[in-house]
Amino acid sequence: MTGPAVVLITTFLASMVEAIEMVTIVLGVGATRGWRSTLIGVGAGFAVLAVVVAALGLALSQVPIGPLRLIVGALLLVFGLQWLRKGVRRVAAHGLAGVGMHPEDEPPEWNGVGFDWTAFVLAFKGVVLEGLEVAFIVVSFGANANQLPIAVVGGVGAVVITGGVGIVLQRFVTRIPRSFLQLVVGILLTTFGTFWALEGLGVDWPAGDGAILGLLVLYVLTAATYITIERRRAFGFEPAA
């Protein structure tokens, strides 16, 4: 039988990986689109999670997560690509001129009246998918080791601590110019979207979760290359003969 400390550390670390993905999405969307609708999406996501976990309990591990990963991943991918393209165009046009500028001086990504469904849906999907993955980790580790309460502490602890770090980071993230933030969030959504959609299809990534870093590097380089090309096109720079 596995010891309680091993179960606690394993579920905590495994859950933290998922919690970091969740907090990254919520933080990026909130800072770019506004916090009200984003936080309502987070609340709704946790409410759905609580109902699902309460209703299914240990049977949760029998739920096929593949289709959910595919749907959420594909939606994040196509939406993330829109922000990536917008971010490339804006940063190419204005550079990092917004750095140091007060965030209120920049036009917000969304300034409509009422409810921002885009922020809600993005935050909701991020919380539900990653929260379910944390619940799967807790149930599988906890049930297999016959240490479910310890595994619950590990999983919930990881989400609470990562969420706390996110709240601290939120102050700094909102100081980043919105055009640049949109590019960064676009890259992150495209990265997670690609990873989850293909995992949902049953594709084995080389290096497992480490492939997320590989995708991130690829998309950062892609964005940097296209920003250079767009700037050359916009300002008429020609490469030296």
Partner: protein, 70 residues
Amino acid sequence: MNRIVGWIVAFGRFWYHFIIGDDWTVAAAIAVGLILTAILNAAHIIAWWLVPLIVVVMTGLSLRRAGRKT
């Protein structure tokens, strides 16, 4: 009745903008990429590279098209 129709139209419009956005070709290429990846994966052919490649190529093509319009 009109309110329900209006709500359905707004709901459809939201998802259209969420998925298709300003360039339908990108969403279509991603859909094709995912279908091809599923087919290749079922045939036990390594296919993780296909969607990232489509992302890189389609982003460039879409930016180029948008640049021509402006």
